[in-house]
Amino acid sequence: MPDKKIFITGNEAAVLGAIDAGAEVMFGYPITPATEILQGWVAKAEENKKLQYLQTEDEIAAGFGVLGVLLGGKKAFTASAGPGHILLQDPLSMAENLRLPFVGIMMQRGGPSTGTVNFSQQEVNLAAFGGNGDGLRIVYSASSVGELYELVIQAFNTAWQYRWPTIVLGDGYLGKTRSTVLLKKPRQLIPAYPILEEKTEPTHLRNCYSSEESFGEVLKKNIADWHKDKPAIVRSESLQTEEAETLIVAHGLVASAAKEAITGLNAKKNKIGLFRPITLNPLDSDALKKAAQKVKKIFIIESALNQLARIIKYELAGSEIEFIEIAKPAEGFTPEEIITRIKQNG
């Protein structure tokens, strides 16, 4: 029986993704624009007693609660935004140190501080590098309601297979947009297992070390794993990049606007391509370099000052490419606007 299109919001898609991924527990705290994820999960939990939740006293408790569930061997997650995302750095850091499969869905909003409740792409730094470590967290960026569903499921699989804290970035527009979608159900789910193993030989987990050297060993091992796992984890999309001399780089919803803009820019004729990272951390550097092979100019478009730009420029350091950053912190780009801005810059 062919799947039917349904008409759901991004936040609803996130809830469906978590359920179809096998998540059993959600911890959360009300915060716009992610609150509907908590509410949606609560509504589902009313019907399905296997699902549990707790509205905690704050996001810090929510994040540590998630870690507790993971240690016990069930899939758990939280959803937040903005100031809540900041508070989650505390538990995220523990997850990063202990390699715990934390999953968080962050619906970006304008920042810093309370900012706006609406939209931004300003939480990339937070998601990837917000803790007091070196940023060994997986970060996915969703560009559509359907993709948000897929990436939430992917996040659980990646987290439990490779043991990295994993964040799926959406934004307020995506969360609140009701869109016709055909959900791509998962083909395979990675199972959860107790991390505190309850075996005769006990598991001792610590995140505190006395000497630089002993901690250094742990970090070296984690970094080696990060590099080893990278090829299997990275994802990106390249559109019309084979002969491109100009490249647009964007992620999330901005990339969707850019996709529509590309048709208006007569892309094939004008040799304009689009590179869309789906993982922001680790970035699909091989695919980026391939897309940029013949490129003279790269437009980096984001609803932040330079959070995507720094990641891209790091990967292409030393190249002769001209970078033009089109930045609109906390405000969205319509396809028409992207076309105008690209034309303005030649």
């Binding site: 609150t35 609560v42 309370t114």
Partner: protein
């Protein structure tokens, strides 16, 4: 609109953005009259939480600062250290005070920091659309307790009573209600005076209504408030 509302109200920000029938505005009227009566408009600074209370940012002709959710009390504690002669008010909701901000609130009471904390209690997280809060009573339906708040999430949280347990004996702790505006104003005056005259911590929870998220009309809102008053006692906590 002279003598429709307190002198300390900033008329330039009226009509304000609180929902029709919001209890905050009724409480803010009495706070305004208290400030007028004490003639402290020039000497007061108000810290504001994030929630519906954030709408107070331009509400008065008084210096205000929007802080982060649950962090209003510690900000005003710090401010009072810098400016001991000024009157430091922290204005927050039940979520900001008793969930995310509880730790800081408890410690301010414990240390007897000379600030006045005002908590408007409408039993939900209103600005985010009506989720349960610590003060939501057992059995009440909210968007995160669709079948009624279960006891496993705690019964209604009694903040003033909790603070009374660890606060210094010189503190002033009370609960008022918008159903009795005159009494409320007097409690607010007493609370503020405890800061100015006794250099001690003062706290007042104000039972309030939220027609928007309770989905009640005026009559039903005050009916529910009456029920709340049966569970949350009004008056000074001694």
């Amino acid at each position: 609109m002279d003598n429709f509302s307190p002198k300390s109200w900033n008329q330039k920000s009226k009509p304000h953005f609180f929902c029709p029938g919001c209890g905050h505005a009724i409480a803010l009227k009495q706070l305004g009259y208290a400030i007028d009566d004490l003639a402290i408009q020039q000497k007061t600074t108000i810290g504001i939480d994030i929630g519906c209370s954030l709408l107070v940012w331009d509400f008065f002709n008084i210096d205000t600062v929007q802080t982060h959710h649950g962090r209003t009390t510690p900000v005003m504690v710090g401010y009072k250290i810098a400016k001991p002669q000024r009157i430091a008010l922290a204005y927050t909701g039940d979520g900001g005070a008793y969930a995310i901000g509880l730790q800081s609130l408890v410690h301010a009471a414990f240390r007897n920091n000379p600030v006045t904390v005002i908590v408007v209690n409408n039993e939900n997280y209103a600005m985010t659309g009506g989720q349960l809060s610590p003060t939501t009573e057992t059995g009440i339906k909210t968007t995160t307790s669709p079948s009624g708040k279960d006891l496993k999430f705690g019964p209604g949280f009694k903040g003033p009573e909790l603070l009374h347990q660890i606060a210094n004996e010189k503190s002033f702790i009370a609960r008022g209600s918008i159903s009795n505006p005159v009494q409320l104003k007097n409690l607010l005056i007493k609370a503020i005076k405890n800061q100015t005259d006794n250099n001690s911590f003062s706290f007042i929870e104000i039972l309030s209504i939220c027609p928007t998220n309770w989905k009640t009309d005026a009559e039903q809102s005050f009916e529910r408030l009456k029920e709340m008053e049966k569970y949350y006692p009004i008056g000074e906590i001694k």
